[in-house]
Amino acid sequence: MSGRTEGGVPQQTSQNPVLAMTPDRILTITNLSVSVRGEEGSREVVSNLSLTLSRGETLCIAGESGSGKSMTALAIMQLLPQPAARISAGTVHLGETELTALDERRMRRIRGDRIAMIFQEPMTSLNPVLSIGRQLTESIEAHTSLSPSQARQRAIEALKAVRISEAESRLRQFPHELSGGMRQRVMIAMALALEPDVLIADEPTTALDVTVQGEVLELLRDLQQKHGTSVILITHDMGVVAEMADRVIIMRHGRMVEEGKTSDIFARPQADYTRELLAAVPRIGSGAGRQQSKEIAEAAMPANVAEVNDLHVRFDLRGGILGRVTRRVHAVEGVSFSIAPNETLALVGESGCGKSTTAKALAGLVPYSGDIVVGGRNLSGLGRDERKAVRRDVQMIFQDPFASLDPRMRVGDLVAEPLVIHGIASKEERRERAAALFDRVGLSSDQMELYPHEFSGGQRQRVCIARALALRPKLIIADESVSALDVSVQARVLDLLKELQREFGVAYLFISHDMAVVENISDRVAVMYLGQIVEMGTRDQVFSNPRHPYTKRLIEAVPVPDPAQRRSRFARLDQEIPSATRRIGEAPLKLALSDVGNGHLVATEG
């Protein structure tokens, strides 16, 4: 239906009949191919893609990493990474203008003015040494003939439009003074200040917390309705697709797999790949694949593998001429929990809530105060060698499998390394054990000679899991271990983790910001906010009967991958989450947890 001209009449090359027929179409891509030149010749990353975008429409391009969705966006903007990538075939029409034929000077006038783009990382897409005001007025002045004071006025209006309070004084602030959500709103303000025809948002909320994500998505939707902007939203998150899209294009390996209205795609997916993709999306309320949440009494029977009591982690900030400690980051404030064998305790919360710091304290990576008891022995009372021996029982899997493996070591050596360090087994046995672990996590032992960069993300995370299992630990800390993976890979890694738990009886401390994943894997859940646990209980208690307002907001903010359940309003944050940094002597108020029945603990206000 899109741009494919029937019949192939040769005279029609100069005038595209599709464009002439539908003045409503703002952007038309016809048979677009993008190729990247590599060592082994050039490779197509986008193949023969055709799509149209109507005025005021939201089109989602969804797909997993390597599907070519970002390349498509960059091709539209003519911002493909030079000189490796180039458009090898096809056309991109913005209204009547053929973008691929424009030179850089004319294209520059279109960028920002008629097509604007928002990138994933609000931390890096603003220039850290220029004030917000400078960056906003710069693009306004570049594209209009407004005077500096008029441009300033326009910038203030743009900031107000994205619901930034005290817009005038914000103009003088620098990017580092704003939170991630605020920065992304500034980016949206910049993009929409010139009222472009098309807005391309490349994973605009992926780097944001769920509650902030909801807010930004809602903002995008409102602004779009007000200005009639057409939006191309690129995302891997089917929940976001369901919330936002009018129409969806599913991409895989650079090709369009399926295209259709959002409701059709979700209700009646035609392609196998779309079905797989939708099936892999974790959903709240399904609890897929998990046995009934275990009863507290049953779980508490054997001795706990780890107990954390009144854990505090504080980082000193020095200031003043004398370099004295003036402020402290209260990253973790009096956290207590215990984990039984064969149990998965999930620690959830948004960035900066202290969940990762708790994990690091448990893994011995940051100094702490309080008690950490592993296998009945309190770590703070032990000498170095004893602590090393006890720590064998606690292993960790990190978030980013690309960063947590030494790139200069063979994966086989990496998996065997824990055994070497703790002096277990002979060289031959170590190899055999490593090979067995490789088989166990779904890799082949032939791959032991390879280096980490020769694996994909999911495979690397399997290597990390094998490495964590090598010492037969009693507890594995999984710090956002599936967050960086594509959904289909994520689902398989989660299944592997569950299998390994059944087989080895290992307990997990599963740290995540993703409520849907947590619901899928956990037995018990602890919700953290500003360094403290605000609610803790079994999965069913927390998910079906959330008591603390923060827990409720977290659950509500998760986009549901079902367009029929689209919410008119997202849970909106009343204010920014306060900072965990405090002056000396201003210790935060300690929350008391009270039992509301069957061990379901909730923080009481006041």
Binding site: G66, G364, L471
Partner: protein, 301 residues
Amino acid sequence: MTSPIAPDLTAGRMPAKPRAGIWRRLAKRRLALLGLVIVAVVVAGAILAPWLTGYDPNEQMFDGLTIEGSPLPPSAKFWLGTDLLGRDLLTRILYGARTSLIIGIVANGVALFIGTLVGVTAGYFRGWMGSALMRFTDLMMAFPALLLAICLAAVFQPSLWIVAMVIALVNWVQTARVIYTETSSLAEREFIDAERTIGASAPRILFRHILPHLLPTIIVWGTLGISTTVLLEATLSFLGIGVQPPTASWGNIIFENQTYFQAAPWLVFFPGAAILALALAFNLIGDALRDILDPTQRGRA
């Protein structure tokens, strides 16, 4: 799920043996081979000097000068000409190679070792020890290197080995600074945290995990250091505190003759070319080594 960065693993490729002859893999690269040949020639020249030439390096020959007393240009008798005192230049360059190799390899090697050790220790442990080490490095950097060398050389009796040590003590600071910066950013990387969680000790992390990543930097500084140290030795010789005349070194040949550069350019050109060739040779070898030792470069151009 293959990302565009990670290659497809379904093609069952044979894993290459890692250390299957670093020499052989070096020799396969044409430029590295050239470097190896140059180094071999220089080393052979230095060792075999007495057999390669019929002259004594310090003999001032009567027929080595014109009637007016000016040096002779290259000829059939004196292949590279003679110097101001009528000594055969080729012979002096061959014997000088001994001095320059010792300076360029030993002094430079020691400097590299100290610099790496200080940089890695300061960068990994930080704290008061890191601060103390780095402030000391900054102090050494701010102190004029030549002045320091003169002081040290004045305290000890000048000899080749003392000169080598003096040069090492002056030259480690830049390496330390660079290695420090790299180590402290490496120590922040997640895989180092991952190593700590499996119980790896500090020496293990430093030598097995951090040092291999520093190799490219160390190699680059090592090759750059060769020409720097050879020239520093020449400067010291010129000031009378380096290798004592009449012992030849490439540096002091240049310095003895530089004022006559316009009248007798060969006197500066040949020893200069020798320094350049040696530095270039090590550079070529270093470059190739860096690529060969880096597993992440495997299979890439």
